[in-house]
């Protein structure tokens, strides 16, 4: 696991016991649900909760991997991550509304565009203060987020907008099987946009993972994360790695912005919720851990849906924040991170 933890050095010894604890806890809860008859009366809604949680969780994972990468390599908590996502959403929205571009096709625009914006942001405003105290960089991204959000407000006003996917309900032929959307999975409704978001998010997350693991660039990024001076000594241009890293972080929200457009409202602050959730995921998964972000995204997706099931009428985020504070206090290095 060390090779994926871009920020943390060393490894944790008690990983297996932790996994065992989680498995045991889940098993105990399942047994309790079955014995008390809760399962009997709730299994459909429970299936819906699990499916919805996993579907949205994949998008959270994608967003969080970008945030986690930036944190691991640049040591910056990026408060502008969500604002960049709003930018991507508006780009996809304008493409769809004004030019009739399919939102999934707009991925080809949003991903490279956001990468370029990310590189530009890093080069112009973050690189100059890389040596300043941590809170400076944090405030910088806060200022950037304020700037971007209000720029979007000036350009598009605050009215929430959305687009309709013309083929959202219909059937999809996949060779042998034909799927009718929205289709049912264990009694849970799965809509087409969410299914696509799920699959594409996972593919992109996998691609990012491979990029970090298997390419020279990925090796350079991980080297710069572990030891910037050492990386510099062996000939890695750390400043350039920083540029690329922030670019990749922005590109990941670029992709997420296109993917959620068909089932989410666009507004200048639309990305904010994802930013906040990504904080939670990143802390949960261990700051800088890519694998942790992937797992954490799903965990938060489930948590938010379970909150609604057990605490009806409240905001989904209450459970998420309760979990956040708990993890922050008890295991600030994250569930999957290791103490450094």
């Amino acid at each position: 696991m060390t090779e994926t933890n871009v920020a943390t050095r060393g490894r944790s010894g008690s990983r297996n016991s932790r996994i065992a604890l989680v498995v045991f806890g889940v098993a105990a809860l399942a047994l309790l649900a079955w014995v008390t008859g809760w399962w009997e009366s709730h299994h459909t809604i429970f299936a819906q909760v699990m499916v919805s949680g996993l579907l949205i969780g994949s998008v959270y994972s994608l967003v969080s991997m970008g945030l986690s990468l930036v944190f691991g390599v640049l040591d910056i908590i990026n408060f502008a991550h969500g604002a960049l996502m709003s930018v991507a959403m508006y780009v996809a929205f304008v493409l769809a509304r004004s030019y009739g571009v399919d939102p999934y096709l707009s991925l080809l625009v949003t991903i490279p565009l956001m990468f370029i914006i990310g590189v530009f942001v890093q080069a112009t405003i973050i690189n100059p203060v890389m040596d300043a105290p941590l809170h400076s960089q944090l405030l910088l991204t806060l200022g950037l987020s304020l700037f971007i959000q209000n720029l979007l407000l000036v350009l598009f006003t605050g009215t929430p907008r959305s687009i309709e996917l013309p083929y959202a309900s219909g059937s999809l032929g996949l060779g042998l099987v034909t799927l009718d959307f929205p289709f049912r999975l264990f009694g849970a409704v799965v809509t087409l946009p969410k299914a696509i978001a799920f699959i594409v998010s996972l593919l992109l997350a996998g691609a990012l993972f491979l990029l970090l693991q298997r390419t020279r660039l990925g090796t350079a990024i991980r080297a710069a994360a572990q030891d910037p001076e050492g990386a510099e000594l062996v000939g890695i241009d750390v400043r350039r790695v920083y540029l690329v890293t922030f670019g990749i972080g922005a590109a990941s929200v670029g992709a997420a912005g296109s993917l959620i457009l068909p089932f989410f409202f666009v507004s200048p602050t639309a990305g904010e919720t994802f930013n906040i959730i990504a904080f939670v995921v990143v802390v949960l998964g261990g700051m800088g851990s890519i694998r942790g972000a992937l797992a954490g995204g799903f965990l938060i997706g489930l948590t938010q849906e379970l909150t609604q099931l057990f605490v009806p009428g409240s905001s989904k985020l209450i459970g998420v924040f309760a979990l956040f504070i708990l993890v922050l206090l008890l295991r600030p290095e994250g569930l999957f991170g290791s103490r450094t």
């Binding site: 209000n150 905001s315 924040f321 309760a322 922050l328 206090l329």
Partner: protein, 343 residues
């Protein structure tokens, strides 16, 4: 050598010159209403309110070095305390201010204790404060006791009422109330910085491990900073409610509130007594200037007429510019210029 020493030492020092200067400024602020009326007075009142919040934030974020991104928690507690105690229990806002301040201090102690206990530092601590504020916002939005996300309206009694801090005819009195609260906060800061407590806080900020090795209890002094900071920020929240007569979860606990609170001391100069005052003054003038620009733009900027969000853009740009070009704020820039002149 001399100038270097000055730059390192100056943020901590608070000489009698500064205190005299503060006294002069407060006197000037006290006579300011003679020259202002109507809209100008409202701007000045709101600026003082931000100065109060900033002074509160500065105790913790500036002197003790515990950067908070969730000061909306204290602001909101103060605001809701006044609103609830007045509308439900008919208690005077003065009592509400005191109770709100104490509750906020208590909340700060509790969350601070939990955070520091588990050795949260720097960005982790900042995230924790942010999470606590968001948590309060969500709880407030789903609690029917405080009207969920609809918020609470403060009934207008009409006429002037010192007991209810409502002034229909003499808005000037509201200005004096917030000035009084600000003077309390400034006096507390002066006391804190000059007393042993303040020195310990600064020592912890500069190097927590070294301070602990010298026998300073970091937990205790960080908690004192948090409690004081929470108390005064809550006072501003309580005043806000009595001034604008309305509060809802977003206005009280929203992330934007936290940003607004820390913006002033950072633009003015973190960890200096002048920072929040200067920051509040500068940003209020800039904010008004953009608002006027949007209301009646000059011909070549005609497209800006009635556009929303311009002031937010400006504040974001200012924050970025300050961090890059003047991380020690306006006060730091002035000090550097003066140091150069003295040399």
């Amino acid at each position: 050598m001399n100038s270097l020493f000055k730059r390192v030492a100056s943020p901590i020092r608070l000489g009698s010159k500064d205190v005299r200067g503060l006294f002069v400024v407060v006197v000037l602020l006290a006579v300011l209403p003679l020259f202002l009326s109507g809209f100008g007075l409202t701007i000045a009142t709101v600026a003082l309110m931000f100065a109060l919040m900033g002074t509160g934030w500065n105790m913790m974020g500036g002197y003790a070095g515990q950067f908070s991104f969730g000061h909306a928690a204290y602001f909101g507690i103060g605001a809701y305390s006044v609103a609830v105690l007045l509308t439900k229990y008919l208690l005077s806002p003065w009592v509400g201010l005191l109770i709100g301040g104490l509750l906020a201090a208590l909340f700060g102690l509790l969350t601070g204790f939990l955070s520091f206990r588990y050795k949260l530092r720097g960005p982790y601590f900042a995230l924790a404060t942010f999470a606590f504020a968001e948590m309060l916002r969500l709880l407030a939005s789903s609690s029917s006791f405080i009207n969920k996300s609809i918020g609470i309206h403060i009934p207008l009694v009409g006429g002037d009422d010192w007991a209810r801090i409502q002034f229909e005819d003499t808005r000037r009195n509201s200005y004096f109330v917030i000035l009084f609260l600000l003077v309390l906060a400034l006096a507390t800061t002066v006391w804190m910085v000059r007393a042993r407590v303040g020195h310990y806080m600064v020592a912890i900020r500069d190097d927590e491990d070294a301070a602990a090795a010298l026998g300073v209890n970091p937990l205790r002094y960080k908690l004192i900073a948090v409690a004081l900071s929470g108390f005064f920020t809550a006072l501003a929240g309580g005043f806000y409610v009595q001034y604008f007569l309305f509060i809802d979860p977003d206005l009280a606990f929203g992330a934007l509130v936290s940003i607004q609170i820390l913006l002033r001391p950072i633009v003015g100069g973190v960890g200096t007594i002048w920072g929040p005052l200067v920051g509040a003054g500068v940003l209020s003038l800039l904010g008004e200037w953009t608002r006027a620009l949007v209301r009646q733009p000059p011909a070549f900027l005609g497209f800006l007429q009635g556009v929303n969000g311009l002031d937010g853009m400006l504040f974001g740009a200012i924050l970025i510019a300050v961090i890059i070009f003047a991380p020690d704020g306006v006060v730091g820039v002035v000090r550097r210029i003066r140091a150069r002149a003295h040399r």
